[in-house]
Amino acid sequence: GDQVEQSPSALSLHEGTGSALRCNFTTTMRAVQWFQQNSRGSLINLFYLASGTKENGRLKSTFNSKESYSTLHIRDAQLEDSGTYFCAASYGSSGNKLIFGIGTLLSVKP
């Protein structure tokens, strides 16, 4: 079954507003990564978390391994934040192999 459930699948924000993306895991994950895929198709690493919370500029991510979820918060959205955001997680038996969510298509409008 699907081990990484990502929501929402699509999100529209106006510039300056914010929202959160979420991934639920159906098994205990060792670490989670968040990526942004831009219009050229490149996957840009945003965060790597084995636990806790990290913040970088207008982005903040949390990984709660006990409750099996991770979130990515975006505040003060800018046009250049548009793209597809993926969470991906690794679990014990997979080594460093990542299982990806389906992605969230974010559109930031003026």
Binding site: G41, S42, L43, N45, S94, G95, N96, K97, F100
Partner: protein, 113 residues
Amino acid sequence: NAGVIQTPRHKVTGKGQEATLWCEPISGHSAVFWYRQTIVQGLEFLTYFRNQAPIDDSGMPKERFSAQMPNQSHSTLKIQSTQPQDSAVYLCASSRGQNSDYTFGSGTRLLVI
């Protein structure tokens, strides 16, 4: 640091031909991964190497796909007798080790016609 380099960026092959995709990982990264991305299946794991040794190829279609890492500076993914359903973006990534983040290359967009 040029990042993970993948070549070619685009490749068009005729059905039944062979395609070879190249990946140069970041120097000093011991793990190299191959993924495939399609609209229908999303991002799928294919295979990975650690210190040039194949560790897990559970995502590789068995019959026509093969991957190698002959030295620490490059890996290849070869698809024999390509089929239209092989059309996808093939992504290579590298990481320092077991508990490190990935850096992805820009991908190779393969189109089989």
